[in-house]
């Protein structure tokens, strides 16, 4: 009898209305106008105004012209997500199972660096990865990099930046699902399987899958749409779709092209998310 009894009546709608109205007006309606804008006559401009011409050609033009940045976004975002998964899993596992009474402190430390501005953190990486910095110098010394080799303005720097910046989005959901696992299950797996690694893949990994799924989504989505890392750590050779959209909007004022590219990115992400969640078999997650 102790389940929450939800009250009926007008008050519920009244409480809900302002927030929903805000989201409707400034999230849903904009998506609609994004779709509309993406079909405007590409010949229009801010001064002359736009006319709706059902220009589906905007989409094929955008795909034709910008397929490279689009592909790069997905590849870079994917690699960064995979790296985050490895680093984040180690960290989340350590916090959930090995940190003992330092659990809370470590959790706070995971989030703490990310209270400093995203841009300032990324600028720091620019300094760390600089051509005469410690890392480049040591890599040159080890002959991993040639004597004129560099990290900045390469995909390595961009992916490193993405990995760093979105790591907490991976760690927190992973920690949440690892922390829920009954410790005795892991101990029992130690009895059942000869090697701890087998126990890990038979017991811990499957049980942490919900965290893996939501962590990878939370990391991949912003990473694929990001352009700050490319802009600060990369070069035009690493241009991702985010920077294209942003410059089409703000510099080129080509709204129809920018909107259709934006739509393509969103549809692509939604499609990938759906396929991925289906595959992982955790549909109840969303």
């Amino acid at each position: 009898m102790s389940e929450t009894v939800r009250k009926r009546g007008r008050l519920g709608y009244l409480l809900l209305f302002p927030a929903l109205a805000w989201l409707g007006l400034f999230f849903v309606v904009p998506l609609y106008s994004l779709v509309a804008t993406s079909l405007f006559d590409p010949a229009g401009s801010d001064f002359r105004g736009y006319t709706m011409s059902w220009a589906w050609g905007n989409y094929s033009d955008a795909l034709h012209e910008y397929w490279q940045p689009l592909l790069r976004s997905i590849v870079y975002g994917g690699i960064a997500t995979a790296l985050c998964l490895v680093l984040g899993y180690v960290l989340a596992y350590a916090i959930a199972f090995k940190a003992g009474r330092w659990k809370n402190v470590m959790l706070v430390l995971v989030i703490a660096p990310f209270f400093t501005s995203f841009l300032i953190r990324t600028l720091s990486w620019k300094l760390i990865l600089a051509d005469d910095g410690v890392i480049v110098n040591s890599l040159q010394f080890l002959h991993v990099l040639g004597s004129d080799g560099r990290l900045l303005a390469t995909p390595v720097a961009v992916i490193a930046g993405l990995t760093y910046n979105f790591l907490p989005f991976m760690v927190l959901p992973l920690y949440a699902s690892l922390d829920k696992i009954d410790h005795r299950l892991i101990e029992a797996s130690g009895d059942l399987y000869a090697h701890p690694a087998i126990g890990f893949f038979k017991v811990t990994w499957p049980l942490s899958l919900p965290g893996v799924v939501s962590g990878t989504l939370l990391t991949f989505i912003p990473a694929a749409g990001d352009f700050i890392n490319v802009q600060l750590l990369g070069s035009p050779n690493q241009r991702m779709v985010g920077s294209v959209i942003q410059s089409l909007f703000t510099d080129a004022n080509n709204y129809p092209a920018a909107a259709s590219l934006s739509m393509i990115l969103m549809v692509l992400i939604v499609a990938m998310v759906v396929v991925y969640v289906r595959r992982a078999g955790t549909e109840d997650l969303l």
């Binding site: 929450t4 009894v5 939800r6 008050l11 519920g12 409480l15 809900l16 929903l20 989201l23 400034f26 999230f27 849903v28 309606v29 904009p30 106008s33 994004l34 509309a36 804008t37 680093l87 180690v90 960290l91 596992y93 350590a94 916090i95 090995k98 940190a99 809370n104 430390l109 995971v110 660096p113 990310f114 209270f115 400093t116 501005s117 841009l119 300032i120 953190r121 600028l123 720091s124 300094l127 760390i128 600089a130 005469d132 760093y164 790591l167 989505i221 694929a224 749409g225 990001d226 352009f227 700050i228 802009q231 600060l232 985010g242 959209i245 942003q246 909007f249 990115l265 969103m266 969303l286």
Partner: protein, 267 residues
Amino acid sequence: MTGRWLRERLVLVLGILVLLYTFVPIAVVVLMSFNAPASRNVYRFDAFTLDNWLNPCTDPSMCDAVRRSVEIGLLATVVATILGTLAAFALVRHDFVGRSATNLLIFLPMAAPEIVMGSSLLALFVAAGFSGQLGFWTILIAHIMFCLSFVVVTVRARLAGMDDTLEQAAMDLYATPAQTFWRVTFPLVFPGILGAALLSFSLSFDDFIITNLNAGTTTTFPMYVWGVAQRGVPMQVNVIGTLMFAISIAIVLGSELNNRRRSKALA
């Protein structure tokens, strides 16, 4: 013997290494805040100075941008926290038609790429003929929009975790509905609301992608950093970065100490 010791702690050691890695850029930020650069174009540590801390507003436009970001952050936090808290109460405590659609509407802004949200808002403002008025208010509207969902989710979690027999007990002990709310419900949900507000402020203060698209000529702090990143970064930017880090650490430590003190009294 040592092999076993190491193997048992290997994961912890690796985890701590990952944690250290996340602090490397912060160390650089703090270090650079004490840097006296030889030239504006070379971004590296040259000499120690306190100048950046003593004169943070050498570039007045930076301090203007910080002030604007704080203003927008505070306003967005207040509005988003109020609207989001009301909605969280409705979601947990009230029955209404269209619950799953509502949940979806609240979830989507957290999952959508910022570039898509930013560009769609811009498309709306342009379509509505506001392209000339982009600035403080359009930024504020956008910030409230993306903070809202985070507030709803945070407060809802706190509310859902609250035992509703506490409110029944209050009613049973002669508290009217209003008294029940202010004496029992609100004090118990307050930590969640506070957490949501802090989260909102830091999201708003740090946002660049959405803001940049809808800012017109107005400059927030992240936009200022973006601008100077192309020309040469004044070291005072690192002072702001260090301060942001220090303030958030202080808030977290303060609440942690408060908890510790409370549980100490237990023993």
